[in-house]
Amino acid sequence: MSRALVRLLAVLLLAFAGLAAAQAIDPLPFKDQAQEVRFQNLTRQLRCLVCQNENLADSNADLARDLRHEVFGLMQQGKSDDEIKQYLVDRYSDFVLYDPPVKPSTWLLWFGPGLFLALGAAVVLVTIRKRGRATRIDSRLVDNATIEQGDDW
Protein backbone atom coordinates (compact mmCIF):
# COMPACT_ATOMS: atom_id res chain seq x y z
CA MET A 1 0.00 0.00 0.00
CA SER A 2 1.20 3.45 -0.76
CA ARG A 3 1.92 5.75 2.10
CA ALA A 4 -0.79 8.17 0.99
CA LEU A 5 -3.40 5.43 1.05
CA VAL A 6 -2.39 4.37 4.55
CA ARG A 7 -2.70 7.96 5.71
CA LEU A 8 -6.12 8.28 4.13
CA LEU A 9 -7.27 5.07 5.83
CA ALA A 10 -5.97 6.25 9.19
CA VAL A 11 -7.83 9.54 8.83
CA LEU A 12 -11.03 7.73 7.86
CA LEU A 13 -10.75 5.32 10.79
CA LEU A 14 -10.21 8.17 13.21
CA ALA A 15 -13.17 10.05 11.77
CA PHE A 16 -15.47 7.05 12.23
CA ALA A 17 -14.15 6.35 15.72
CA GLY A 18 -14.96 9.93 16.63
CA LEU A 19 -18.44 9.54 15.20
CA ALA A 20 -19.11 6.38 17.23
CA ALA A 21 -17.91 8.04 20.42
CA ALA A 22 -20.04 11.10 19.76
CA GLN A 23 -23.12 8.91 19.37
CA ALA A 24 -22.49 6.87 22.50
CA ILE A 25 -22.08 9.88 24.74
CA ASP A 26 -25.02 12.16 25.14
CA PRO A 27 -23.86 14.83 27.52
CA LEU A 28 -25.89 15.11 30.70
CA PRO A 29 -25.37 18.01 33.09
CA PHE A 30 -23.87 16.13 36.03
CA LYS A 31 -23.40 17.96 39.31
CA ASP A 32 -19.90 16.60 39.84
CA GLN A 33 -17.70 13.72 38.81
CA ALA A 34 -18.89 11.49 41.65
CA GLN A 35 -22.41 11.70 40.30
CA GLU A 36 -21.24 10.89 36.81
CA VAL A 37 -19.35 7.81 38.07
CA ARG A 38 -22.44 6.71 39.97
CA PHE A 39 -24.56 7.18 36.84
CA GLN A 40 -22.14 5.16 34.72
CA ASN A 41 -22.02 2.35 37.28
CA LEU A 42 -25.79 2.21 37.58
CA THR A 43 -26.54 2.27 33.85
CA ARG A 44 -23.98 -0.49 33.29
CA GLN A 45 -26.08 -2.75 35.56
CA LEU A 46 -29.24 -2.09 33.57
CA ARG A 47 -30.22 -3.83 30.37
CA CYS A 48 -31.30 -2.08 27.22
CA LEU A 49 -34.73 -3.56 26.43
CA VAL A 50 -34.35 -3.05 22.68
CA CYS A 51 -30.90 -4.51 22.02
CA GLN A 52 -30.94 -6.92 24.88
CA ASN A 53 -27.26 -7.82 25.00
CA GLU A 54 -26.28 -4.24 25.60
CA ASN A 55 -26.47 -2.28 28.80
CA LEU A 56 -28.09 1.12 29.12
CA ALA A 57 -24.73 2.87 29.32
CA ASP A 58 -23.53 1.53 25.97
CA SER A 59 -26.69 1.33 23.94
CA ASN A 60 -27.49 3.71 21.13
CA ALA A 61 -31.14 2.72 20.98
CA ASP A 62 -33.66 5.52 21.23
CA LEU A 63 -35.36 3.95 24.24
CA ALA A 64 -32.00 3.49 25.98
CA ARG A 65 -31.37 7.21 25.64
CA ASP A 66 -34.82 7.96 27.07
CA LEU A 67 -34.17 5.60 29.97
CA ARG A 68 -30.74 7.15 30.62
CA HIS A 69 -32.45 10.52 30.87
CA GLU A 70 -35.05 8.96 33.16
CA VAL A 71 -32.32 7.55 35.42
CA PHE A 72 -30.56 10.91 35.40
CA GLY A 73 -33.80 12.67 36.31
CA LEU A 74 -34.44 10.28 39.20
CA MET A 75 -30.89 10.86 40.45
CA GLN A 76 -31.51 14.62 40.48
CA GLN A 77 -34.58 13.93 42.62
CA GLY A 78 -32.26 12.29 45.15
CA LYS A 79 -33.41 8.71 44.56
CA SER A 80 -31.04 5.94 45.64
CA ASP A 81 -29.65 3.33 43.23
CA ASP A 82 -32.02 0.72 44.65
CA GLU A 83 -35.01 3.01 44.26
CA ILE A 84 -34.08 3.71 40.65
CA LYS A 85 -33.67 0.01 39.92
CA GLN A 86 -37.05 -0.70 41.54
CA TYR A 87 -38.61 2.05 39.43
CA LEU A 88 -37.44 0.30 36.27
CA VAL A 89 -38.27 -3.20 37.54
CA ASP A 90 -41.84 -2.02 38.28
CA ARG A 91 -42.19 -1.16 34.60
CA TYR A 92 -39.95 -3.63 32.78
CA SER A 93 -39.69 -6.58 35.24
CA ASP A 94 -36.45 -8.12 36.55
CA PHE A 95 -35.40 -8.45 32.94
CA VAL A 96 -34.03 -4.92 33.09
CA LEU A 97 -31.42 -5.99 35.66
CA TYR A 98 -28.30 -7.71 34.42
CA ASP A 99 -28.00 -9.54 37.74
CA PRO A 100 -31.33 -11.26 38.40
CA PRO A 101 -32.36 -11.11 42.07
CA VAL A 102 -32.20 -14.30 44.14
CA LYS A 103 -35.77 -15.55 44.64
CA PRO A 104 -37.56 -18.91 44.30
CA SER A 105 -38.06 -18.56 40.53
CA THR A 106 -34.34 -17.90 40.00
CA TRP A 107 -32.95 -20.47 42.44
CA LEU A 108 -32.17 -22.90 39.64
CA LEU A 109 -30.40 -20.12 37.75
CA TRP A 110 -28.27 -19.10 40.73
CA PHE A 111 -27.64 -22.46 42.38
CA GLY A 112 -28.00 -24.79 39.37
CA PRO A 113 -24.32 -24.56 38.39
CA GLY A 114 -23.27 -25.35 41.99
CA LEU A 115 -25.71 -28.25 42.01
CA PHE A 116 -24.22 -29.66 38.80
CA LEU A 117 -20.71 -29.18 40.16
CA ALA A 118 -21.64 -31.10 43.33
CA LEU A 119 -23.22 -33.84 41.22
CA GLY A 120 -20.08 -34.11 39.08
CA ALA A 121 -17.88 -34.14 42.17
CA ALA A 122 -19.99 -36.95 43.64
CA VAL A 123 -19.66 -39.00 40.44
CA VAL A 124 -15.88 -38.49 40.40
CA LEU A 125 -15.60 -39.42 44.08
CA VAL A 126 -17.62 -42.61 43.70
CA THR A 127 -15.62 -43.58 40.61
CA ILE A 128 -12.28 -43.00 42.33
CA ARG A 129 -13.34 -45.06 45.35
CA LYS A 130 -14.57 -47.92 43.15
CA ARG A 131 -11.42 -47.84 41.06
CA GLY A 132 -9.25 -47.78 44.18
CA ARG A 133 -11.03 -50.89 45.48
CA ALA A 134 -10.76 -52.62 42.10
CA THR A 135 -7.04 -51.85 41.95
CA ARG A 136 -6.49 -53.37 45.38
CA ILE A 137 -8.34 -56.49 44.35
CA ASP A 138 -6.35 -56.55 41.10
CA SER A 139 -3.01 -56.43 42.88
CA ARG A 140 -4.07 -59.32 45.08
CA LEU A 141 -5.09 -61.29 42.03
CA VAL A 142 -1.83 -60.43 40.29
CA ASP A 143 -0.08 -61.95 43.28
CA ASN A 144 -2.01 -65.09 42.51
CA ALA A 145 -0.82 -64.82 38.91
CA THR A 146 -4.38 -64.33 37.72
CA ILE A 147 -5.29 -61.27 35.72
CA GLU A 148 -8.82 -60.07 35.94
CA GLN A 149 -10.15 -56.76 34.85
CA GLY A 150 -12.42 -54.63 36.97
CA ASP A 151 -15.95 -54.50 35.68
CA ASP A 152 -16.02 -50.75 35.89
CA TRP A 153 -13.94 -49.36 33.07
Partner: protein
Protein backbone atom coordinates in the same frame (compact mmCIF):
# COMPACT_ATOMS: atom_id res chain seq x y z
CA UNK B 1 -24.73 -50.32 33.42
CA UNK B 2 -21.60 -48.25 33.92
CA UNK B 3 -20.62 -48.78 30.30
CA UNK B 4 -23.85 -47.25 29.06
CA UNK B 5 -23.51 -44.20 31.36
CA UNK B 6 -21.89 -41.97 28.68
CA UNK B 7 -24.65 -42.92 26.25
CA UNK B 8 -27.32 -42.07 28.83
CA UNK B 9 -25.59 -38.76 29.52
CA UNK B 10 -25.45 -38.02 25.81
CA UNK B 11 -29.13 -38.84 25.33
CA UNK B 12 -30.05 -36.60 28.27
CA UNK B 13 -28.12 -33.73 26.65
CA UNK B 14 -29.82 -34.39 23.30
CA UNK B 15 -33.15 -34.24 25.11
CA UNK B 16 -32.21 -30.98 26.82
CA UNK B 17 -31.09 -29.30 23.59
CA UNK B 18 -34.14 -30.60 21.77
CA UNK B 19 -36.34 -29.09 24.47
CA UNK B 20 -34.48 -25.78 24.13
CA UNK B 21 -35.09 -25.67 20.39
CA UNK B 22 -38.74 -26.63 20.78
CA UNK B 23 -39.21 -24.00 23.49
CA UNK B 24 -37.66 -21.24 21.39
CA UNK B 25 -39.87 -21.96 18.40
CA UNK B 26 -42.85 -21.31 20.68
CA UNK B 27 -41.55 -18.41 22.71
CA UNK B 28 -39.88 -15.22 21.63
CA UNK B 29 -36.78 -15.04 23.82
CA UNK B 30 -36.74 -11.27 23.36
CA UNK B 31 -40.15 -10.88 24.92
CA UNK B 32 -40.02 -9.04 28.23
CA UNK B 33 -42.80 -10.17 30.58
CA UNK B 34 -44.83 -7.23 31.81
CA UNK B 35 -45.02 -6.84 35.58
CA UNK B 36 -48.05 -4.59 35.07
CA UNK B 37 -50.60 -7.29 34.25
CA UNK B 38 -53.24 -7.40 36.97
CA UNK B 39 -52.13 -3.99 38.24
CA UNK B 40 -53.77 -0.60 37.75
CA UNK B 41 -52.63 1.11 34.58
CA UNK B 42 -50.32 4.05 35.23
CA UNK B 43 -52.02 7.43 35.23
CA UNK B 44 -51.66 9.18 31.90
CA UNK B 45 -52.76 12.39 30.21
CA UNK B 46 -52.13 12.43 26.49
CA UNK B 47 -53.28 14.72 23.68
CA UNK B 48 -55.35 13.46 20.77
CA UNK B 49 -53.41 13.18 17.54
CA UNK B 50 -56.13 14.91 15.54
CA UNK B 51 -56.83 17.57 18.16
CA UNK B 52 -53.84 18.18 20.46
CA UNK B 53 -55.82 20.69 22.53
CA UNK B 54 -58.00 17.84 23.81
CA UNK B 55 -56.47 15.36 26.20
CA UNK B 56 -57.43 11.84 27.17
CA UNK B 57 -56.59 10.54 30.63
CA UNK B 58 -56.87 7.33 32.55
CA UNK B 59 -59.71 8.87 34.54
CA UNK B 60 -61.63 9.87 31.41
CA UNK B 61 -61.38 6.31 30.08
CA UNK B 62 -62.71 4.60 33.21
CA UNK B 63 -66.05 2.80 33.01
CA UNK B 64 -65.59 0.41 30.12
CA UNK B 65 -62.79 -1.81 28.86
CA UNK B 66 -60.62 -0.67 25.98
CA UNK B 67 -57.68 -1.88 23.95
CA UNK B 68 -54.61 0.32 23.60
CA UNK B 69 -52.49 -0.38 20.55
CA UNK B 70 -49.01 1.18 20.51
CA UNK B 71 -47.99 2.01 16.95
CA UNK B 72 -45.83 4.44 15.00
CA UNK B 73 -45.42 5.42 11.38
CA UNK B 74 -41.71 4.45 11.57
CA UNK B 75 -42.54 0.96 12.81
CA UNK B 76 -42.33 -1.73 10.14
CA UNK B 77 -44.10 -4.45 12.13
CA UNK B 78 -47.02 -2.04 12.68
CA UNK B 79 -47.51 -2.04 8.92
CA UNK B 80 -47.83 -5.82 9.07
CA UNK B 81 -50.33 -5.60 11.89
CA UNK B 82 -52.36 -2.80 10.37
CA UNK B 83 -54.53 -4.85 7.96
CA UNK B 84 -55.42 -7.19 10.84
CA UNK B 85 -56.61 -4.25 12.93
CA UNK B 86 -58.49 -2.82 9.94
CA UNK B 87 -60.30 -6.13 9.52
CA UNK B 88 -60.87 -7.09 13.15
CA UNK B 89 -60.80 -3.80 15.07
CA UNK B 90 -64.56 -3.19 14.79
CA UNK B 91 -65.45 -6.76 15.73
CA UNK B 92 -63.69 -6.68 19.10
CA UNK B 93 -66.55 -5.01 20.95
CA UNK B 94 -64.25 -2.63 22.84
CA UNK B 95 -62.93 0.76 21.79
CA UNK B 96 -59.58 0.56 20.04
CA UNK B 97 -57.28 3.34 21.18
CA UNK B 98 -54.26 4.03 18.99
CA UNK B 99 -51.16 5.08 20.91
CA UNK B 100 -48.84 6.93 18.57
CA UNK B 101 -45.40 6.33 20.05
CA UNK B 102 -42.42 8.67 19.54
CA UNK B 103 -43.71 9.83 16.21
CA UNK B 104 -44.00 13.12 14.40
CA UNK B 105 -47.74 13.94 14.39
CA UNK B 106 -47.68 14.82 10.69
CA UNK B 107 -46.06 11.48 9.84
CA UNK B 108 -48.64 9.62 11.91
CA UNK B 109 -51.55 11.46 10.30
CA UNK B 110 -50.16 10.77 6.82
CA UNK B 111 -49.60 7.11 7.70
CA UNK B 112 -53.19 6.71 8.92
CA UNK B 113 -54.52 8.55 5.87
CA UNK B 114 -52.61 6.20 3.58
CA UNK B 115 -53.31 2.88 5.33
CA UNK B 116 -56.69 3.62 6.87
CA UNK B 117 -57.59 4.37 10.46
CA UNK B 118 -58.85 1.42 12.52
CA UNK B 119 -58.84 3.39 15.78
CA UNK B 120 -61.74 4.92 17.68
CA UNK B 121 -59.30 7.54 18.90
CA UNK B 122 -55.59 8.12 18.64
CA UNK B 123 -53.49 9.60 21.44
CA UNK B 124 -49.99 10.90 20.76
CA UNK B 125 -46.96 10.39 22.97
CA UNK B 126 -44.22 12.15 21.06
CA UNK B 127 -41.63 12.28 23.87
CA UNK B 128 -42.37 8.65 24.85
CA UNK B 129 -42.42 9.51 28.56
CA UNK B 130 -45.79 7.91 29.35
CA UNK B 131 -44.78 4.82 27.38
CA UNK B 132 -42.00 4.18 29.92
CA UNK B 133 -44.64 4.03 32.68
CA UNK B 134 -46.44 1.39 30.61
CA UNK B 135 -43.21 -0.57 30.16
CA UNK B 136 -43.32 -0.12 26.39
CA UNK B 137 -40.05 -1.04 24.73
CA UNK B 138 -41.07 -1.20 21.11
CA UNK B 139 -43.98 -1.17 18.75
CA UNK B 140 -46.41 -2.68 18.22
CA UNK B 141 -47.52 -3.54 21.72
CA UNK B 142 -51.09 -3.76 22.97
CA UNK B 143 -52.74 -3.47 26.37
CA UNK B 144 -56.25 -4.54 27.34
CA UNK B 145 -57.46 -2.32 30.16
CA UNK B 146 -60.66 -3.09 32.04
CA UNK B 147 -63.45 -0.78 33.24
CA UNK B 148 -61.65 -0.17 36.54
CA UNK B 149 -58.44 0.82 34.78
CA UNK B 150 -56.59 -2.43 35.50
CA UNK B 151 -54.27 -3.85 32.83
CA UNK B 152 -55.58 -7.34 32.03
CA UNK B 153 -53.44 -8.41 29.13
CA UNK B 154 -50.45 -7.34 27.12
CA UNK B 155 -49.46 -8.50 23.68
CA UNK B 156 -45.96 -7.78 22.39
CA UNK B 157 -45.49 -7.67 18.64
CA UNK B 158 -48.07 -7.60 15.87
CA UNK B 159 -51.53 -9.06 16.41
CA UNK B 160 -52.39 -11.91 14.10
CA UNK B 161 -55.95 -13.16 13.51
CA UNK B 162 -54.99 -16.31 15.46
CA UNK B 163 -53.80 -14.40 18.53
CA UNK B 164 -56.92 -12.24 18.45
CA UNK B 165 -59.17 -15.32 18.33
CA UNK B 166 -57.22 -17.37 20.86
CA UNK B 167 -56.15 -14.80 23.45
CA UNK B 168 -57.87 -11.46 23.03
CA UNK B 169 -61.49 -12.28 22.24
CA UNK B 170 -62.01 -14.76 25.12
CA UNK B 171 -60.59 -12.18 27.55
CA UNK B 172 -62.81 -9.42 26.20
CA UNK B 173 -65.81 -11.73 26.50
CA UNK B 174 -64.86 -12.42 30.12
CA UNK B 175 -64.51 -8.72 30.89
CA UNK B 176 -67.90 -8.03 29.32
CA UNK B 177 -69.56 -10.76 31.36
CA UNK B 178 -67.88 -9.31 34.40
CA UNK B 179 -66.44 -12.69 35.32
CA UNK B 180 -62.80 -11.74 34.99
CA UNK B 181 -60.83 -12.80 38.06
Amino acid sequence: MTRSLPLIGFLLLVGLFGFGIWWNTRHDPREVPSPLIGKPAPAFVLPLLEDPATTVSKASMLGKPYLVNVFASWCVACGEEHPVLMAEGRTLGVPLVGYDYKDAPDDARAWLARHGNPYDMVVADQPGRTAIDFGVYGAPESFLIDAKGVIRYKHIGPFTPEVIERELKPLIAQLKRGTAP
